[in-house]
């Protein structure tokens, strides 16, 4: 079978990953903002008896090997020698995109221009004569609308039928290449030479545009009108907060919470009863019955019951991501981030941190300077990832039943504020370097593709369920064992168990925080292995299932836990505990990622310890200041 290797290249946010997904059936992350892809990704497919490999390269405006994305692209083009390089061009922004096309022509690689987002171009009154453009470039030009599988199939037909050797650079391009060659041989100093070549490239782009493009004036676009409100002036930040608040309100009060309560009742009621009855019928040993019901069902069940909340929250965040608003968030946050010593670009990895800290830490690679990268990596753990959401939701519902959404929203905002504050501290103390520049292209607003939004939401929920079935399962077994055994064997009193000893040692650090119980100490220790373990530990230690079966009234998990935990926490100490778990040491996976990304144990230990110290201090302040103000 004949093989064909194809590379997708183009400016950021031109729809390369959408085309890659359509062609290969992969589920590559798509976002309506620049810089979603920072690594090359490879997919494979078969079409018309040909095995085709497709590489999705990070978006880049040029190939000068300066930014991390450009370096990946240049390295790939130099080493891989693809049969065909598909230059995915945003047709609605053709002039700027053609600069990269001209650079590719200069490299003499076999190029096919894919005019993507033709629908967007039409809306903006941009008419591109594809035939004229093809003639002016001397290379094949294809029109696509990324989300249409029909139009991406058209690309495949061109891949498999185009004989690139039949194409030769047009007279216009040949003339440009000669002029570039002459300049390169002229002995000009490097900076001047580069400047002159850039002038030549823009001159060629102007000629190409004149030959193939006509623009009709259509007035300000919908995106421009919307940006006057959403991304400009003093209203931008309040509107951002209002939007996020609305999402939390919908998630916690309207949709997520009722679903979570229903699932929680089902697990703690029907599932537990069924498991108990089945284990008794099978005459299973009492210790194993306890392990299954008190350990596994309590531990894993308490985490699984939050899946509806996760699904609801991330559905809305994925939806926002697809609209293009996230790019505006970077723009809105730029002045604030700049005061902290970072650029608005630094907010992009942090936004990912709301999903999971691991890709957020990896996403810091896209930042231009080493200083920005390190600061971004070190402040990401302060954000509320999906795994911390159950802790926040559980405690908020338990101790602030009338204001659960408000409290969780405040915890998210507190995480962001803490990240910004620590960025400032790290910027003036540890990573003194020059300020980075920030250039961000605001993509047009789009109605997100619901298939993509639902897929992303499902992926999150699935990842959470897989984690519950593996890591949280193992943690629940471990917690059950540690809380039911000591050096003398099984113990009736949990307070004499291994876990109580471990928790007591840790709780000594929280004497002034109001949560110096061994149960809290144990939950903090297990939370370092996986944040969800805080909830599963609480579930096991405070025995949700037992309470559920003994309670005749239908109560949700939070209310049941509140009954048993009332003696351990006051409202104020619960808030201090929430603040601590929100900010303290990231989970082991995130620590492993920090080691991998920084390449040094030094930074891994630093991240683990300084986040713990910061959480300890802020939590202490919350509790002590709260007491001074008369709260309990």
């Amino acid at each position: 079978m004949a093989t064909l290797s194809i590379a997708l290249i183009g400016n950021p946010n031109t729809g390369k990953s959408t085309i890659f997904n359509e062609l290969t059936g992969a589920r590559q992350k798509i976002g309506n903002w620049p810089g979603v892809t920072i690594d090359k990704k490879v997919g494979y497919l078969k079409y018309k008896e040909r095995a085709i490999s497709i590489v999705d390269l990070p978006g880049t405006y040029s190939i000068n090997a300066r930014s991390p994305e450009e370096k990946i692209v240049v390295q790939y083009l130099m080493d891989a020698h693809s049969d065909l390089v598909v230059d995915v061009v945003d047709a609605s922004n053709l002039e700027r995109n053609l600069f990269l096309t001209v650079q590719l022509l200069e490299m003499a690689v076999p190029v096919l221009v894919d005019l993507n987002m033709m629908d967007e171009a039409s809306r903006r009154g941009i008419n591109i004569n594809t035939y004229e453009l093809e003639k002016a470039l001397g290379m094949p030009v294809v029109e696509t609308v990324g989300r249409s599988s029909k139009s991406t199939r058209k690309l495949l037909d061109v891949f498999t039928s185009t004989v690139m050797k039949d194409y030769e650079p047009s007279a216009l391009v040949a003339e440009h290449m000669q002029a570039v060659k002459a300049l390169q041989n002229s002995g000009l100093e490097e900076a001047k030479l580069e400047e002159e070549i850039i002038i030549l490239r823009y001159a060629l782009v102007d000629k190409l545009m004149a030959q193939a493009v006509t623009v009709n004036s259509v007035g300000p676009t919908f995106s421009e009108k919307l940006d006057r409100i959403l991304a400009n002036g003093f209203l931008a930040l309040p509107l951002l907060l209002l939007l996020l608040y609305a999402i939390f309100e919908i998630t916690f009060t309207w949709f997520g919470k009722p679903l979570q309560e229903a699932l929680s009742d089902f697990i703690n009621g029907d599932v537990t009863d069924w498991a108990k009855a089945s284990l008794e019928t099978l005459d299973v040993a009492p210790w194993l019955q306890s392990l299954v019901t008190d350990g596994i069902i309590n531990g894993v069940g308490s985490v699984i019951s939050f899946v509806p909340l996760i699904f609801t929250l991330f559905f809305f965040l994925s939806f926002l991501d697809g609209t293009g608003y996230m790019a505006r968030v970077a723009f809105i946050m730029d002045p604030i981030m700049r005061r902290a010593g970072l650029s608005g670009k630094g907010i992009m990895p942090l936004i990912m941190g709301f999903g999971c800290g691991v890709p957020a830490i990896m996403g810091a690679r896209a930042l231009d300077s080493e200083k920005d990268r390190m600061i971004s990596i070190l402040i990401t753990p302060f954000l509320t990832c999906g795994a911390k959401l159950p802790i926040m939701a559980l405690f908020a519902a338990m101790f602030f039943p009338d204001n659960a959404a408000n409290v969780v929203f405040c915890m998210y905002v507190a995480g962001v504020l803490m990240a910004i504050l620590m960025a400032k501290v790290l910027n003036v103390s540890t990573f003194k370097d020059k300020e980075s520049t920030f250039l961000l292209e605001l993509p047009p607003y789009r109605m997100p593709d619901m298939k993509t939004v639902l897929l992303e939401t499902w992926e999150k929920g699935k990842g959470y369920l897989v984690k519950a079935g593996t890591i949280i399962f193992a943690m629940s077994v471990l917690i059950w064992f540690l809380s039911n055994y000591n050096f003398d064997g099984p113990t009736e009193e949990m307070s004499e168990s291994f876990l109580a000893a471990i928790g007591s040692a840790m709780s000594a650090l929280f004497v002034f925080h109001g949560f110096d119980t061994w149960e809290s100490g144990a939950a903090i220790v297990t939370g370092i292995l996986a944040k969800e373990s805080v909830v599963s530990t609480m579930g096991i230690l405070y025995g949700v299932a037992d309470i559920s079966t003994e309670t005749e009234n239908v109560m949700d998990t939070a209310a049941q836990l509140a009954n048993s935990m009332g003696a351990s926490f006051t409202t104020l100490s619960a808030l201090a505990f929430m603040v601590f778990t929100q900010l303290y040491t990231p989970c082991v996976t995130a620590l492993g990622t920090i080691k991998k990304e920084t390449g040094k144990w030094k930074w891994t230990f630093f991240a683990a310890l300084y986040t713990f110290a910061a959480a300890w201090i802020v939590s202490l302040l919350v509790y002590q200041v709260g007491r001074l103000l008369g709260f309990e």
């Binding site: 590559q28 976002g31 194993l288 957020a360 990842g463 492993g592």
Partner: protein
């Protein structure tokens, strides 16, 4: 007999979970990295091998 079977299954899943914690730490990748280029949590995981 049921005790041995259930205990065996739990032991296997337990070992798998502990291995996952260890592997996630040493590889520096989260669970979402197995779900199609980490689209679940925002991208940027090493999906190259997983797509093959």
């Amino acid at each position: 007999m049921a005790t041995y079977i259930i205990a065996g299954v739990i032991a296997i899943v337990f070992a798998f979970g502990i291995r996952k914690i260890y592997r996630n730490f040493t590889s520096g990748e989260s669970d979402c990295c197995g779900s199609g280029g980490c689209s679940g949590c925002g991208g940027h995981c090493h999906g190259e091998d997983k797509l093959k």
